[in-house]
């Protein structure tokens, strides 16, 4: 088995692929706006799609940990898991950390040099 060159990069790519789908992004938006929703409530927002299609999207969002489900009597309530989103972004963000460190150091030199001049 070939190891991932960057630990966790595969997971991040999967996340972005998952979110590249506009229906899944819309589902996340709706959950973010309204807190919890049932499959039926979500399906009502997508009149062009069959409810089983919405269920499939919810399943892949749950598998990725982006959405959680709780049982309420006979129905399942879906809610977003914002921590999972933040965690999934960490490997991607790490790529930029050295660049930003350099950029901020340059900004500091520029701003502090101004201040010395005007003293």
């Amino acid at each position: 088995m070939v190891p991932d060159p960057v630990p966790g990069a595969g997971a991040t790519d999967d996340l972005f692929k998952l979110l590249a789908d506009p229906t899944r992004r819309r589902i996340l938006d709706l959950l973010a706006e309204r807190g919890t929703l049932t499959v039926g409530q979500l399906a009502a927002e997508f009149p062009d799609l069959v409810p089983s299609g919405i269920s499939k999207h919810l399943m892949s969002l749950r598998a990725a940990g982006l959405v959680r489900a709780t049982r309420d009597g006979r129905q399942r309530l879906y809610r977003i898991d914002p921590d999972a989103l933040s965690t999934a972004l960490v490997p991607w963000l790490a790529r930029y950390a050295p660049y930003w460190a350099d950029a901020l150091a340059r900004l500091r030199v520029l701003a502090e040099r101004d201040r010395e001049r005007t003293r």
Partner: protein
Amino acid sequence: MPAVVRAIEIQAPPSAVWKWLATPDALRRWLSPNLEIDLRVGGAYRFFNEGTWISGAVLEMVPESALVLSWLEEGGDWVHPARLLIELAPTAGGTRVTLSHDGFAGIGKAGWPGTVQAYERGADRHQVLERLRDLVAAGGA
């Protein structure tokens, strides 16, 4: 919740630091020498970073306080949509500057609809670039 990438303390007041965010020339001095930016809300920008072209739009611009950009990586089959937040806060000794990214973690928060729109616009633009690439490849050599 935005993921804080880096923060720094600068021994100068926010007004002095903001000067370095307020014009394209000033931003080029520290952010990236090849930055092109239409520095107003809704304005487009593009620069080369770590082997990748980054592009997007200015989402927010609050003098002495914050500059927020949508953040799209060009060149793949799809783009990574996110925001870059550059925030200034006064401290006893000067200014604390925080650089942070929020990607889809910004869902549902203020500014998120703008990110989605910028993402859609960026995706459209990238398709235009792909078409151009295909045309050049088809007609080239």
